[in-house]
Amino acid sequence: MSTTPMSAEPAAAYRDDKRHWWWLPLFVALSPVLGVYLAATTGQKLWLWITPILWYVALPVADWLVGRDTRNPPDAAVPSLESDRYYKFLVYASIPLFYVTWIVGAWAVATQDYGWAGYLGVSLSVALTNGLALVVGHEVGHKTGRFEKRLAQIVLAVPAYGHFSAEHNRGHHKDVATPDDPASSRFGESLYAFVLREIPGALGRAWRDEKVRLARSGKGPWSLSNELLQSFAITAVLYGSALALLGPVIIPFLLISTFWGWQFLSTSNYIEHYGLLRQKLPDGRFERCRPEHSWNADHIVSNLMLYHLQRHSDHHARPTRCYQALRSDKAPELPSGYPLCFTLTYFPPLWRAVMDKRVLAVYGGDITRVNIQPSKREQILARYGAGRQTATGV
Protein backbone atom coordinates (compact mmCIF):
# COMPACT_ATOMS: atom_id res chain seq x y z
CA MET A 1 0.00 0.00 0.00
CA SER A 2 2.94 2.28 0.55
CA THR A 3 4.55 1.44 -2.77
CA THR A 4 4.13 3.53 -5.86
CA PRO A 5 1.54 2.11 -8.22
CA MET A 6 3.07 0.49 -11.29
CA SER A 7 0.40 1.81 -13.58
CA ALA A 8 -0.63 5.36 -14.35
CA GLU A 9 -3.96 4.61 -12.68
CA PRO A 10 -3.55 3.84 -8.96
CA ALA A 11 -4.89 0.43 -8.04
CA ALA A 12 -6.76 1.75 -5.03
CA ALA A 13 -8.68 4.17 -7.21
CA TYR A 14 -9.56 1.54 -9.78
CA ARG A 15 -13.25 0.75 -10.13
CA ASP A 16 -14.48 -2.03 -12.34
CA ASP A 17 -17.12 -0.43 -14.57
CA LYS A 18 -18.46 -3.84 -15.50
CA ARG A 19 -18.87 -5.03 -11.91
CA HIS A 20 -22.66 -4.85 -11.75
CA TRP A 21 -23.12 -5.84 -15.37
CA TRP A 22 -21.90 -9.37 -14.70
CA TRP A 23 -25.45 -10.17 -13.57
CA LEU A 24 -26.47 -10.11 -17.24
CA PRO A 25 -25.62 -13.76 -18.06
CA LEU A 26 -27.82 -14.93 -15.18
CA PHE A 27 -30.83 -13.26 -16.80
CA VAL A 28 -29.87 -14.79 -20.14
CA ALA A 29 -29.65 -18.21 -18.46
CA LEU A 30 -33.27 -17.79 -17.36
CA SER A 31 -34.52 -16.17 -20.57
CA PRO A 32 -36.24 -19.33 -21.92
CA VAL A 33 -38.25 -19.50 -18.66
CA LEU A 34 -39.23 -15.87 -19.13
CA GLY A 35 -40.28 -16.72 -22.69
CA VAL A 36 -42.48 -19.59 -21.49
CA TYR A 37 -44.03 -17.34 -18.85
CA LEU A 38 -44.71 -14.45 -21.23
CA ALA A 39 -46.13 -16.77 -23.89
CA ALA A 40 -48.57 -18.13 -21.29
CA THR A 41 -49.62 -14.73 -19.96
CA THR A 42 -49.82 -12.80 -23.24
CA GLY A 43 -50.76 -15.58 -25.66
CA GLN A 44 -47.97 -14.38 -27.99
CA LYS A 45 -45.95 -17.45 -29.00
CA LEU A 46 -43.12 -15.40 -30.43
CA TRP A 47 -41.89 -15.10 -26.84
CA LEU A 48 -40.86 -18.75 -27.05
CA TRP A 49 -38.11 -17.63 -29.45
CA ILE A 50 -36.73 -15.09 -27.00
CA THR A 51 -33.22 -16.54 -26.63
CA PRO A 52 -32.46 -17.12 -30.34
CA ILE A 53 -33.73 -13.60 -31.06
CA LEU A 54 -31.55 -12.28 -28.26
CA TRP A 55 -28.42 -14.10 -29.49
CA TYR A 56 -28.77 -13.78 -33.26
CA VAL A 57 -30.49 -10.38 -33.54
CA ALA A 58 -30.37 -8.27 -30.37
CA LEU A 59 -26.75 -8.95 -29.41
CA PRO A 60 -25.24 -8.13 -32.84
CA VAL A 61 -27.21 -4.88 -32.83
CA ALA A 62 -26.17 -4.13 -29.23
CA ASP A 63 -22.54 -4.87 -30.04
CA TRP A 64 -22.73 -2.49 -32.97
CA LEU A 65 -24.40 0.25 -30.93
CA VAL A 66 -22.35 -0.02 -27.73
CA GLY A 67 -19.06 -0.87 -29.42
CA ARG A 68 -15.76 -2.07 -28.03
CA ASP A 69 -13.86 -1.60 -24.81
CA THR A 70 -10.10 -2.07 -24.90
CA ARG A 71 -9.40 -0.74 -21.41
CA ASN A 72 -7.72 -3.07 -18.93
CA PRO A 73 -7.47 -3.00 -15.16
CA PRO A 74 -4.06 -1.71 -14.06
CA ASP A 75 -1.64 -4.52 -13.17
CA ALA A 76 -1.63 -3.54 -9.52
CA ALA A 77 -5.43 -3.89 -9.31
CA VAL A 78 -5.54 -7.41 -10.79
CA PRO A 79 -4.81 -9.42 -7.59
CA SER A 80 -7.65 -7.81 -5.62
CA LEU A 81 -9.97 -8.08 -8.62
CA GLU A 82 -9.18 -11.78 -8.93
CA SER A 83 -9.65 -12.53 -5.23
CA ASP A 84 -12.97 -10.67 -4.95
CA ARG A 85 -15.48 -13.42 -4.16
CA TYR A 86 -18.40 -11.47 -5.62
CA TYR A 87 -17.35 -12.50 -9.14
CA LYS A 88 -17.04 -16.16 -8.20
CA PHE A 89 -20.43 -16.05 -6.52
CA LEU A 90 -22.11 -14.81 -9.70
CA VAL A 91 -20.69 -17.71 -11.70
CA TYR A 92 -21.68 -20.28 -9.05
CA ALA A 93 -25.18 -18.77 -8.82
CA SER A 94 -25.76 -19.35 -12.53
CA ILE A 95 -25.25 -23.11 -12.26
CA PRO A 96 -28.65 -24.09 -10.78
CA LEU A 97 -30.33 -21.75 -13.26
CA PHE A 98 -29.25 -23.93 -16.18
CA TYR A 99 -30.98 -26.87 -14.51
CA VAL A 100 -34.13 -24.82 -13.87
CA THR A 101 -34.23 -23.62 -17.47
CA TRP A 102 -33.65 -27.08 -18.90
CA ILE A 103 -36.38 -28.63 -16.72
CA VAL A 104 -38.89 -25.84 -17.45
CA GLY A 105 -38.12 -26.17 -21.18
CA ALA A 106 -38.69 -29.92 -21.17
CA TRP A 107 -41.87 -29.54 -19.13
CA ALA A 108 -43.19 -26.78 -21.42
CA VAL A 109 -42.73 -28.64 -24.71
CA ALA A 110 -44.33 -31.75 -23.18
CA THR A 111 -47.37 -30.10 -21.61
CA GLN A 112 -48.13 -26.87 -23.48
CA ASP A 113 -49.84 -26.73 -26.84
CA TYR A 114 -47.31 -24.71 -28.81
CA GLY A 115 -47.41 -26.24 -32.29
CA TRP A 116 -44.13 -27.14 -33.99
CA ALA A 117 -42.86 -23.56 -34.24
CA GLY A 118 -43.22 -22.88 -30.54
CA TYR A 119 -41.73 -26.28 -29.67
CA LEU A 120 -38.74 -25.46 -31.88
CA GLY A 121 -38.36 -22.02 -30.31
CA VAL A 122 -38.20 -23.45 -26.79
CA SER A 123 -35.76 -26.16 -27.89
CA LEU A 124 -33.44 -23.63 -29.53
CA SER A 125 -33.72 -21.29 -26.56
CA VAL A 126 -32.61 -24.07 -24.23
CA ALA A 127 -29.88 -25.02 -26.73
CA LEU A 128 -28.41 -21.54 -26.40
CA THR A 129 -28.57 -21.57 -22.60
CA ASN A 130 -26.89 -24.99 -22.82
CA GLY A 131 -24.19 -23.18 -24.79
CA LEU A 132 -23.92 -20.64 -22.00
CA ALA A 133 -23.70 -23.53 -19.50
CA LEU A 134 -20.65 -24.66 -21.47
CA VAL A 135 -19.14 -21.19 -21.09
CA VAL A 136 -19.71 -21.38 -17.32
CA GLY A 137 -18.27 -24.91 -17.24
CA HIS A 138 -15.29 -23.51 -19.09
CA GLU A 139 -14.79 -20.72 -16.55
CA VAL A 140 -15.02 -22.89 -13.41
CA GLY A 141 -13.25 -25.86 -15.03
CA HIS A 142 -10.13 -23.75 -15.48
CA LYS A 143 -9.86 -22.93 -11.80
CA THR A 144 -7.33 -24.90 -9.87
CA GLY A 145 -9.45 -25.96 -6.88
CA ARG A 146 -11.18 -29.35 -6.68
CA PHE A 147 -14.47 -27.71 -5.68
CA GLU A 148 -14.65 -25.67 -8.86
CA LYS A 149 -13.67 -28.66 -11.00
CA ARG A 150 -16.61 -30.51 -9.43
CA LEU A 151 -18.93 -27.60 -10.25
CA ALA A 152 -17.75 -27.82 -13.85
CA GLN A 153 -18.75 -31.48 -14.01
CA ILE A 154 -22.18 -30.58 -12.62
CA VAL A 155 -22.92 -27.70 -14.98
CA LEU A 156 -21.51 -29.55 -18.02
CA ALA A 157 -23.94 -32.39 -17.36
CA VAL A 158 -26.84 -30.17 -18.54
CA PRO A 159 -25.59 -29.91 -22.16
CA ALA A 160 -24.36 -33.55 -21.95
CA TYR A 161 -20.74 -32.49 -22.46
CA GLY A 162 -19.05 -33.87 -19.36
CA HIS A 163 -15.81 -34.55 -21.20
CA PHE A 164 -15.25 -30.86 -21.83
CA SER A 165 -12.96 -30.08 -18.86
CA ALA A 166 -10.61 -32.94 -19.65
CA GLU A 167 -10.68 -32.23 -23.37
CA HIS A 168 -10.27 -28.50 -23.04
CA ASN A 169 -7.73 -28.11 -20.24
CA ARG A 170 -5.42 -31.02 -20.97
CA GLY A 171 -6.06 -31.28 -24.71
CA HIS A 172 -7.02 -28.04 -26.41
CA HIS A 173 -4.84 -25.76 -24.28
CA LYS A 174 -1.82 -27.97 -24.88
CA ASP A 175 -2.33 -28.38 -28.65
CA VAL A 176 -4.06 -25.09 -29.50
CA ALA A 177 -3.26 -23.53 -32.90
CA THR A 178 -1.42 -26.62 -34.11
CA PRO A 179 -2.52 -28.78 -37.05
CA ASP A 180 -3.33 -31.71 -34.77
CA ASP A 181 -5.78 -29.93 -32.50
CA PRO A 182 -9.37 -31.01 -33.29
CA ALA A 183 -10.57 -27.82 -31.55
CA SER A 184 -8.54 -25.32 -33.68
CA SER A 185 -10.00 -24.58 -37.09
CA ARG A 186 -7.89 -24.36 -40.22
CA PHE A 187 -7.74 -21.83 -43.03
CA GLY A 188 -10.14 -22.98 -45.76
CA GLU A 189 -12.01 -25.37 -43.44
CA SER A 190 -15.77 -24.73 -43.36
CA LEU A 191 -17.68 -24.70 -40.08
CA TYR A 192 -19.44 -27.89 -41.13
CA ALA A 193 -16.21 -29.79 -41.83
CA PHE A 194 -14.83 -28.49 -38.53
CA VAL A 195 -17.82 -29.57 -36.42
CA LEU A 196 -17.59 -33.10 -37.85
CA ARG A 197 -13.86 -33.18 -37.03
CA GLU A 198 -14.09 -31.50 -33.64
CA ILE A 199 -16.95 -33.26 -31.87
CA PRO A 200 -15.64 -36.83 -32.29
CA GLY A 201 -12.01 -35.66 -32.06
CA ALA A 202 -12.60 -33.90 -28.76
CA LEU A 203 -14.39 -36.87 -27.21
CA GLY A 204 -11.64 -39.23 -28.36
CA ARG A 205 -8.84 -37.05 -27.00
CA ALA A 206 -10.61 -36.52 -23.66
CA TRP A 207 -11.14 -40.28 -23.27
CA ARG A 208 -7.50 -41.08 -24.13
CA ASP A 209 -6.12 -38.43 -21.75
CA GLU A 210 -8.41 -39.57 -18.94
CA LYS A 211 -7.33 -43.17 -19.56
CA VAL A 212 -3.67 -42.14 -19.25
CA ARG A 213 -4.37 -40.18 -16.04
CA LEU A 214 -6.23 -43.13 -14.46
CA ALA A 215 -3.59 -45.62 -15.58
CA ARG A 216 -0.97 -43.72 -13.54
CA SER A 217 -2.98 -44.60 -10.43
CA GLY A 218 -3.35 -48.18 -11.61
CA LYS A 219 -7.00 -47.79 -12.61
CA GLY A 220 -8.75 -48.73 -15.85
CA PRO A 221 -10.90 -46.29 -17.84
CA TRP A 222 -14.18 -47.88 -16.70
CA SER A 223 -13.66 -46.72 -13.14
CA LEU A 224 -15.77 -44.65 -10.75
CA SER A 225 -12.87 -42.19 -10.70
CA ASN A 226 -13.35 -41.47 -14.41
CA GLU A 227 -14.41 -37.81 -14.38
CA LEU A 228 -16.02 -38.05 -17.81
CA LEU A 229 -18.27 -40.89 -16.69
CA GLN A 230 -19.13 -39.07 -13.46
CA SER A 231 -20.54 -36.12 -15.40
CA PHE A 232 -22.25 -38.35 -17.99
CA ALA A 233 -23.97 -40.16 -15.11
CA ILE A 234 -25.58 -36.89 -13.97
CA THR A 235 -26.73 -36.32 -17.57
CA ALA A 236 -28.20 -39.83 -17.71
CA VAL A 237 -30.19 -39.21 -14.50
CA LEU A 238 -31.45 -35.80 -15.70
CA TYR A 239 -32.39 -36.89 -19.22
CA GLY A 240 -33.68 -40.30 -18.09
CA SER A 241 -35.96 -38.84 -15.40
CA ALA A 242 -37.34 -36.25 -17.80
CA LEU A 243 -38.09 -38.95 -20.38
CA ALA A 244 -39.73 -41.19 -17.80
CA LEU A 245 -41.89 -38.40 -16.39
CA LEU A 246 -42.76 -36.48 -19.55
CA GLY A 247 -42.70 -39.19 -22.19
CA PRO A 248 -41.24 -39.52 -25.70
CA VAL A 249 -42.74 -36.16 -26.72
CA ILE A 250 -39.53 -34.56 -25.38
CA ILE A 251 -37.20 -36.60 -27.64
CA PRO A 252 -36.98 -33.87 -30.34
CA PHE A 253 -36.37 -31.32 -27.54
CA LEU A 254 -33.52 -33.45 -26.17
CA LEU A 255 -31.92 -33.83 -29.60
CA ILE A 256 -32.28 -30.18 -30.67
CA SER A 257 -31.23 -28.61 -27.36
CA THR A 258 -28.25 -30.94 -26.99
CA PHE A 259 -26.88 -30.85 -30.53
CA TRP A 260 -27.49 -27.15 -31.06
CA GLY A 261 -25.86 -26.56 -27.67
CA TRP A 262 -22.81 -28.51 -28.86
CA GLN A 263 -22.89 -26.45 -32.03
CA PHE A 264 -22.62 -23.33 -29.84
CA LEU A 265 -19.38 -24.64 -28.40
CA SER A 266 -17.99 -25.86 -31.72
CA THR A 267 -18.78 -22.61 -33.49
CA SER A 268 -17.05 -20.66 -30.70
CA ASN A 269 -14.00 -22.87 -31.08
CA TYR A 270 -14.12 -22.44 -34.85
CA ILE A 271 -14.01 -18.67 -34.48
CA GLU A 272 -11.39 -18.54 -31.75
CA HIS A 273 -8.30 -19.80 -33.62
CA TYR A 274 -9.27 -19.84 -37.33
CA GLY A 275 -6.12 -20.29 -39.43
CA LEU A 276 -3.72 -19.31 -36.65
CA LEU A 277 -0.61 -21.44 -36.21
CA ARG A 278 2.11 -21.83 -33.60
CA GLN A 279 5.33 -22.28 -35.53
CA LYS A 280 7.55 -25.30 -34.96
CA LEU A 281 10.84 -24.65 -33.16
CA PRO A 282 14.16 -26.26 -34.15
CA ASP A 283 13.83 -28.75 -31.25
CA GLY A 284 10.56 -30.05 -32.74
CA ARG A 285 8.26 -28.49 -30.13
CA PHE A 286 5.68 -25.89 -31.05
CA GLU A 287 6.36 -22.36 -29.87
CA ARG A 288 4.59 -21.45 -26.63
CA CYS A 289 1.01 -20.21 -26.93
CA ARG A 290 0.97 -16.43 -27.03
CA PRO A 291 -1.82 -13.87 -27.50
CA GLU A 292 -1.39 -13.84 -31.30
CA HIS A 293 -2.52 -17.47 -31.45
CA SER A 294 -6.16 -16.60 -30.69
CA TRP A 295 -8.67 -14.15 -32.13
CA ASN A 296 -9.78 -11.43 -29.79
CA ALA A 297 -13.06 -9.44 -29.66
CA ASP A 298 -13.58 -6.53 -27.29
CA HIS A 299 -17.27 -5.98 -27.96
CA ILE A 300 -18.79 -5.03 -24.63
CA VAL A 301 -22.29 -6.51 -24.65
CA SER A 302 -21.42 -9.96 -26.00
CA ASN A 303 -18.42 -10.10 -23.65
CA LEU A 304 -20.73 -9.49 -20.68
CA MET A 305 -22.95 -12.34 -21.75
CA LEU A 306 -19.97 -14.67 -22.32
CA TYR A 307 -17.85 -13.89 -19.24
CA HIS A 308 -15.14 -12.21 -21.37
CA LEU A 309 -14.64 -15.43 -23.35
CA GLN A 310 -14.03 -13.23 -26.39
CA ARG A 311 -10.90 -11.87 -24.72
CA HIS A 312 -9.60 -15.19 -25.84
CA SER A 313 -6.01 -14.24 -26.50
CA ASP A 314 -5.31 -13.41 -22.90
CA HIS A 315 -7.27 -16.48 -21.80
CA HIS A 316 -4.98 -18.82 -23.75
CA ALA A 317 -1.84 -17.03 -22.69
CA ARG A 318 -2.96 -17.19 -19.01
CA PRO A 319 -5.65 -19.87 -18.72
CA THR A 320 -6.14 -19.75 -14.96
CA ARG A 321 -6.92 -16.00 -14.90
CA CYS A 322 -10.52 -15.22 -13.78
CA TYR A 323 -12.99 -13.81 -16.30
CA GLN A 324 -13.29 -10.38 -14.67
CA ALA A 325 -9.53 -9.78 -14.97
CA LEU A 326 -9.04 -10.88 -18.59
CA ARG A 327 -7.25 -8.27 -20.67
CA SER A 328 -7.56 -6.93 -24.14
CA ASP A 329 -4.27 -7.95 -25.63
CA LYS A 330 -2.14 -7.19 -28.64
CA ALA A 331 -3.84 -9.86 -30.69
CA PRO A 332 -5.61 -10.39 -33.99
CA GLU A 333 -9.06 -8.78 -33.84
CA LEU A 334 -12.34 -10.30 -34.98
CA PRO A 335 -14.62 -8.03 -36.98
CA SER A 336 -17.40 -8.40 -34.38
CA GLY A 337 -18.42 -10.27 -31.26
CA TYR A 338 -19.30 -13.96 -31.42
CA PRO A 339 -23.07 -13.50 -32.00
CA LEU A 340 -22.57 -11.92 -35.44
CA CYS A 341 -19.55 -14.13 -36.18
CA PHE A 342 -21.79 -17.18 -35.60
CA THR A 343 -24.07 -16.10 -38.44
CA LEU A 344 -21.07 -15.45 -40.71
CA THR A 345 -19.70 -18.95 -40.07
CA TYR A 346 -23.02 -20.54 -41.07
CA PHE A 347 -22.30 -19.20 -44.59
CA PRO A 348 -18.73 -20.37 -45.29
CA PRO A 349 -18.07 -18.11 -48.34
CA LEU A 350 -19.14 -15.11 -46.25
CA TRP A 351 -16.88 -16.12 -43.35
CA ARG A 352 -13.91 -16.64 -45.65
CA ALA A 353 -14.51 -13.35 -47.44
CA VAL A 354 -14.30 -11.57 -44.08
CA MET A 355 -11.62 -13.64 -42.35
CA ASP A 356 -9.11 -15.03 -44.85
CA LYS A 357 -7.56 -11.63 -45.49
CA ARG A 358 -7.33 -11.03 -41.73
CA VAL A 359 -5.46 -14.32 -41.26
CA LEU A 360 -3.00 -13.37 -44.02
CA ALA A 361 -2.51 -9.94 -42.44
CA VAL A 362 -1.44 -11.63 -39.16
CA TYR A 363 1.40 -13.35 -41.05
CA GLY A 364 2.37 -10.43 -43.27
CA GLY A 365 0.85 -12.20 -46.28
CA ASP A 366 2.98 -15.34 -45.82
CA ILE A 367 0.52 -18.19 -46.42
CA THR A 368 3.12 -20.81 -45.49
CA ARG A 369 2.87 -19.74 -41.82
CA VAL A 370 -0.91 -20.31 -41.72
CA ASN A 371 -2.72 -23.40 -40.35
CA ILE A 372 -4.16 -24.65 -43.66
CA GLN A 373 -6.83 -27.31 -44.27
CA PRO A 374 -4.70 -30.20 -45.68
CA SER A 375 -7.23 -31.22 -48.36
CA LYS A 376 -7.10 -27.69 -49.81
CA ARG A 377 -3.40 -27.04 -49.22
CA GLU A 378 -2.12 -27.10 -52.82
CA GLN A 379 -5.02 -25.02 -54.06
CA ILE A 380 -4.62 -22.42 -51.27
CA LEU A 381 -0.83 -22.19 -51.64
CA ALA A 382 -1.18 -21.71 -55.41
CA ARG A 383 -3.83 -19.07 -54.96
CA TYR A 384 -1.78 -17.01 -52.51
CA GLY A 385 1.40 -17.30 -54.56
CA ALA A 386 3.38 -19.72 -52.39
CA GLY A 387 3.21 -22.82 -54.60
CA ARG A 388 6.86 -22.56 -55.59
CA GLN A 389 8.31 -22.08 -52.09
CA THR A 390 6.69 -25.24 -50.77
CA ALA A 391 7.71 -27.18 -53.87
CA THR A 392 11.31 -26.41 -52.96
CA GLY A 393 10.81 -27.81 -49.51
CA VAL A 394 9.89 -25.16 -46.95
Binding site: H173, K174, S217, R318, P319
Partner: protein, 58 residues
Protein backbone atom coordinates in the same frame (compact mmCIF):
# COMPACT_ATOMS: atom_id res chain seq x y z
CA UNK B 1 13.13 -34.22 -2.75
CA UNK B 2 12.75 -31.10 -4.84
CA UNK B 3 10.03 -28.87 -6.17
CA UNK B 4 9.53 -27.70 -9.74
CA UNK B 5 7.52 -24.66 -10.73
CA UNK B 6 5.62 -23.80 -13.90
CA UNK B 7 7.07 -20.50 -15.15
CA UNK B 8 3.68 -19.55 -16.61
CA UNK B 9 1.09 -19.99 -13.86
CA UNK B 10 3.13 -20.84 -10.78
CA UNK B 11 1.85 -24.41 -10.28
CA UNK B 12 4.37 -26.37 -8.24
CA UNK B 13 5.16 -30.05 -8.47
CA UNK B 14 6.52 -31.24 -5.14
CA UNK B 15 8.22 -34.65 -5.32
CA UNK B 16 7.42 -35.27 -1.68
CA UNK B 17 3.66 -34.74 -2.16
CA UNK B 18 3.32 -35.90 -5.74
CA UNK B 19 0.01 -34.96 -7.35
CA UNK B 20 -2.70 -37.43 -6.54
CA UNK B 21 -5.18 -36.17 -9.10
CA UNK B 22 -2.61 -36.43 -11.88
CA UNK B 23 -1.80 -39.94 -10.66
CA UNK B 24 1.66 -39.22 -9.22
CA UNK B 25 1.96 -40.83 -5.79
CA UNK B 26 3.81 -39.02 -2.96
CA UNK B 27 7.50 -39.51 -3.57
CA UNK B 28 7.22 -39.70 -7.37
CA UNK B 29 10.44 -38.17 -8.64
CA UNK B 30 10.40 -35.44 -11.28
CA UNK B 31 12.42 -37.76 -13.51
CA UNK B 32 9.54 -40.27 -13.38
CA UNK B 33 7.01 -37.68 -14.62
CA UNK B 34 6.48 -38.35 -18.35
CA UNK B 35 8.38 -36.08 -20.74
CA UNK B 36 5.19 -35.11 -22.60
CA UNK B 37 3.35 -34.13 -19.41
CA UNK B 38 2.02 -30.55 -19.46
CA UNK B 39 1.38 -28.30 -16.46
CA UNK B 40 -1.63 -29.62 -14.52
CA UNK B 41 -3.11 -26.14 -14.07
CA UNK B 42 -2.49 -24.21 -17.29
CA UNK B 43 -1.17 -26.73 -19.89
CA UNK B 44 0.58 -23.77 -21.57
CA UNK B 45 3.98 -24.98 -20.38
CA UNK B 46 5.42 -28.51 -20.64
CA UNK B 47 7.63 -30.45 -18.27
CA UNK B 48 10.74 -29.18 -20.09
CA UNK B 49 9.86 -25.57 -19.21
CA UNK B 50 9.56 -26.16 -15.46
CA UNK B 51 12.09 -24.51 -13.16
CA UNK B 52 13.56 -26.18 -10.11
CA UNK B 53 12.90 -24.30 -6.85
CA UNK B 54 14.42 -24.69 -3.35
CA UNK B 55 17.36 -22.51 -4.31
CA UNK B 56 19.45 -25.36 -5.68
CA UNK B 57 19.08 -24.07 -9.20
CA UNK B 58 18.18 -20.60 -10.41
Amino acid sequence: MARYRCPGCGYEYDEQKGDEHEGFKPGTLWSEVPEDWACADCAVRDKADFVKVDGLLA
